[in-house]
């Protein structure tokens, strides 16, 4: 399944935001290795910096210290080798589904014929065949996120970064999209870094779950989830893992709340 080759390597990563002459330490000494084809979920209380980790890997945010390597190359800027899917979908509303998916290829200078070929394959993969010429405004939330996934995959990136991609979907759609994502993931074998605040989602999806501490975020605990897929949410094993992760997270959540109540 994977050659254990490290694709994403974060070591001693730190991030300090300065806002209104105040310095906020978002990340502190965050280290994590993600291997080829692995599905890793980052889980933590809100404001713990899990999105910041993802944005730094994507090259959308500068790190303050430490190192971030993707395929052994230090990350300095955003690039098409790291695809990202956002909670807000972030589709181009004036572009059709196909043209959204083809954006990255267009920018890369790939011929329209070739781009079209790739986009129709991906649109089929994400289950949107027949909607190539629809505009995002005509799609439901789940369908929009399918477009965003196909769009990120079009560049054939080494890693797929997903920032609470199903956070704004209703519960049913969310469950369906989780299954769909696993199907797409097993078809493409991408390395996935997935940010969520839902324990259930993390246990359902991940090979490994990284529970982060409250701000400043660092790795608190890493859980291996050796269950076979598709996973049954009602199985004893599932509930057990969920219980363990939840217990860890709850402690951090309490800390985060205590910190919120007493300003630094």
């Amino acid at each position: 399944m994977d050659g254990n080759e490290v694709i994403i390597s974060l070591s001693h990563l730190s991030k300090v935001f300065s806002k209104d002459h105040m310095e906020v330490r978002a990340l502190d000494d965050f280290s994590l290795d993600v291997t080829d084809g692995e599905f890793v979920c980052l889980l933590g209380p809100s404001g713990c910096g899990k999105t910041t980790v993802l944005r730094i890997v994507a090259g959308l945010e500068r790190k303050s210290g430490g190192s971030v390597k993707v395929k052994k190359k230090e990350v300095t800027a955003a690039g098409s080798d790291r695809g990202m899917v956002f909670q807000e979908f972030a589709l181009f509303p004036w572009r059709t589904v196909a043209r959204n998916v083809e954006f990255g290829l267009e920018v890369k200078g790939i011929s329209p014929e070739k781009a079209h070929e790739i986009s129709s394959q991906l649109i089929e993969l994400v289950g949107l065949k027949g909607f190539e010429d629809a505009h995002p405004s005509q799609l439901s939330g789940g369908m929009k996120q399918r477009v965003a996934i196909a769009r990120a995959l079009a560049n054939n990136p080494a890693v797929l970064l997903m920032d609470e991609p199903f956070g704004s979907l209703d519960a049913q759609t969310r469950n369906l999209m989780q299954k769909e994502l696993l199907r797409i993931w097993s078809a493409t074998r991408k390395t996935v870094m997935f940010v969520t605040h839902s324990v259930d989602e993390a246990v359902f999806l991940a090979d490994r779950i990284v529970v982060m501490t409250a701000r400043p975020g660092k790795v608190r605990e890493v859980f291996e989830v050796p269950m076979a897929r598709p996973r049954d949410r009602t199985s004893r094993e599932f509930i057990e893992v969920r219980g363990k992760v939840l217990a860890e997270l709850d402690e951090e959540f309490e800390k985060a709340r205590a910190k919120e109540l007493s300003p630094e």
């Binding site: 994507a58 959308l60 955003a78 956002f86 509303p93 990255g104 920018v107 405004s137 560049n155």
Partner: protein, 281 residues
């Protein structure tokens, strides 16, 4: 042809209530005008007791409509031109002013909308000049740029700021998450500008154009009135007064109103077309 008829029919059916209400109010307006003119001219119900005065300036609606058609088939008593010549003269000035305003406001607006430095540098000038009514510049512009280009300059001023402000606002409103997405897809600054900022700003530009055109027509009438600039509907309106052709003066006003409606209507059609092309409602 059948297609156009069908579409018109659909519009009528869809908006029959709006159409009926619009017709009723227009009819009511004409009736009240007719009644008031009748009263003033002493031909309706009671006899006018006041001496001549306001009556000279309020003709019957029928007279204005007749004058409107007359202005197209007879040369006017001031400059011996047909109304079409005046319309063309005004249209030419508005069009030139519009093109220059568009050509300057779009790049400047994009720059000010996307660069903090350009915004900071441009803001004092924009904020200082924007509130000055374009009409205040008319005397100066007619002297500075002459009778041919002076009115064009006034129209330019009237159209420039609405377009500029809308483009700045549009370029500034581009969702950060959309530009972030573009960057993770491999887009460089140039790609983002052309493939994200420009399309995003387009609907805002259309709003600016619609607002600007309305102001442009106000400006051209005023500019043409203040100097014998060689025809134009504004000149026409102003020239009919001393000749006592109040009916023709109203006809000129009607022409300006219709021209403004027409150009804004064309801009509206283009706007809807742009929206449909962009998949927005």
């Amino acid at each position: 042809m059948a297609d156009i008829y069908e579409r018109l029919h659909k519009i009528m059916v869809d908006n029959w209530r709006a159409v009926v209400l619009g017709l009723i109010s227009a009819l009511a307006f004409l009736l009240i005008w007719q009644a008031y003119a009748g009263y003033l001219h002493g031909t309706w119900l009671f006899h006018r007791t006041k001496p001549a005065g306001i009556a000279d300036f309020i003709p019957y609606p029928g007279a204005v409509i007749a004058a409107f058609f007359e202005s197209f088939v007879h040369r006017d008593p001031a400059s011996q031109l047909y109304m079409t010549s005046h319309i063309l003269a005004s249209l030419k000035r508005v069009f030139l002013g519009f093109i220059i305003a568009l050509g300057l406001a779009v790049p400047v607006g994009l720059l000010m909308g996307r660069s903090m430095g350009a915004a900071a540098a441009g803001r004092p000038i924009v904020e200082l000049f924007r509130p000055i009514p374009p009409l205040a510049w008319i005397p100066l512009f007619l002297v500075m740029f002459g009778l041919a280009w002076g009115p064009v300059g006034i129209v330019f001023l009237g159209i420039f700021f609405p377009i500029l402000l809308n483009v700045i606002f549009g370029a500034r409103s581009v969702d950060v998450v959309i530009t972030d997405a573009a960057r993770t897809l491999g887009a460089r600054s140039r790609d983002i500008f052309i493939k994200v900022v420009l399309p995003f700003t387009l609907p805002y530009l259309m709003t600016g154009i619609k607002v600007g055109l309305g102001i442009g027509w106000m400006c051209i009438v005023a500019a043409e009135m203040l100097g014998n600039v060689g025809g134009g509907v504004g000149y026409y309106i102003f020239a009919m007064l001393p000749l006592g052709r109040i009916d023709l003066m109203y006809a000129g006003m009607l022409v300006i109103g219709l021209l403004s409606v027409l150009t804004t209507g064309v801009a509206g059609v283009i706007e809807r077309w742009v929206y449909r092309w962009m998949g927005m409602k």
